[in-house]
């Protein structure tokens, strides 16, 4: 599994960090999401799917390889 973050779309809501704190963080200065783990383990996939679903900018994709 690979996580893709479309950074210019990010609106800095931080919803992804709430949903998947092991995979996402926010930049201190402007809150734009940071991808901590591009290839999360299977145990994190549920959290990432939640983050994809709650992102209010549709800026996250989970690509199943």
């Amino acid at each position: 599994m690979k996580v893709e973050l479309d950074e210019p779309k990010c609106v800095a809501s931080g919803q992804c960090v709430v949903a998947a704190p092991d995979v996402f963080d926010q930049r201190d200065e402007d809150g734009v999401a940071i991808l901590l783990e591009e290839h999360p383990g299977a145990e994190l996939v549920r959290d990432v799917r939640e983050a994809v679903a709650v992102c209010p900018a549709a800026a996250i994709r989970l690509v199943e390889q």
Binding site: V11, V18, D28, G31, A53, V54
Partner: protein, 391 residues
Amino acid sequence: MKRIVVVGASAAGLAAVETLRREGYDGTLTLVGEESHLPYDRPPLSKQVLAAEWEPDRVALRTPADLAGHDLDLRLGVAATGLDLAAQEVSLSDGAQVPYDGLIIATGVRPRRLPGEGAHVLRTLDDALTLRERLGPGRRLVVVGAGFLGAEAAAVAWRLGAKVTLLEPASVPLSHAVGEQVGQVLAQAHVDHGVNLRTGVSVTEVTDEGVRLGDGEEVEADEVLVAIGSLPNTAWLADSGLSVGDGVVCDEYCEAARNVFAAGDVARWYNPLFGMSMRIEHRTNAAEQGMAAARNLLNSQARKAFAPVPYFWSDQYDMKIQAHGYLRGHDEVAVVEGDLGERRFVAAYRTGDRLAGALAVGMPPKAIRGWRSAIAAGVTWQEAVHGATTV
């Protein structure tokens, strides 16, 4: 459960169908959408799309391939026209009757309008594309309503060089939502950028030349945008027997009747975190409630109350506004960080003895996540703002 129908193909409806599939539902799944577009995102319409920074394909919420993977019975360009609860059937504008075992209502809202012809509204992608064709240097735009949508559109039009007049019936824009002091700060941003903000004026109709005010004055414009709020799309439910009153009335599980749920802008549900019924027109709520409704529909033995901390953001000029919680009906506002005059602050909102919300302008978004946690935890006002200055 073998047949689920989701009515409404925007953020809430999309979240519902995706959640249903993710949770293992493999029966027939019908998604009905009144617009002919595949599901797309609305917040950028009054921002990047109106500013012509994004082309329409950028607002697609999912790729066609992602959607195809959900094996949907997708019916776009078709509106729901009726609901028969006893027969468990939805009627569509193309004459079809769609039977269901479970139903999720996510039909959203439509813009309120004014009498008279020729004004723009800003709800759909087509609305945004139509308006942006008409904006440009020197064009005179009148925006009726200085709420978040009107304010964002005014800011974009100003940036495009338009001469913008913003008309607002309240004496302080947004004061009912964010309080007078914060409302004044946001209003001042329009003034500082040279937007002609006129408050305390009512607009009675759209005319050939512009708009007419309550006192008879006519304000001339090349284009008029009416942004005076929205109405829930519930007309198709009028004879259904569902309880409808400023939205589809639901319990804390987002259930309106047995196996009938509502989500997103159209849903009025009881939020146990705040102990009150609410209807929230925020983008994040649409997705979260679509997911919650889908899960509760599938897991009737293990339903979970939907108790979110609402969240919204707004981009105006160089300001990023973010708010967590439920600000309306607050009893007190306190600036807890920063300075109102610098348009860089966090304001906390008290309702009763509780911290009900927090709104930040120009602050690092990460820094206000702590406020979200405090609201979710239901902390008292004293705990939350100890030492802060009351405005």
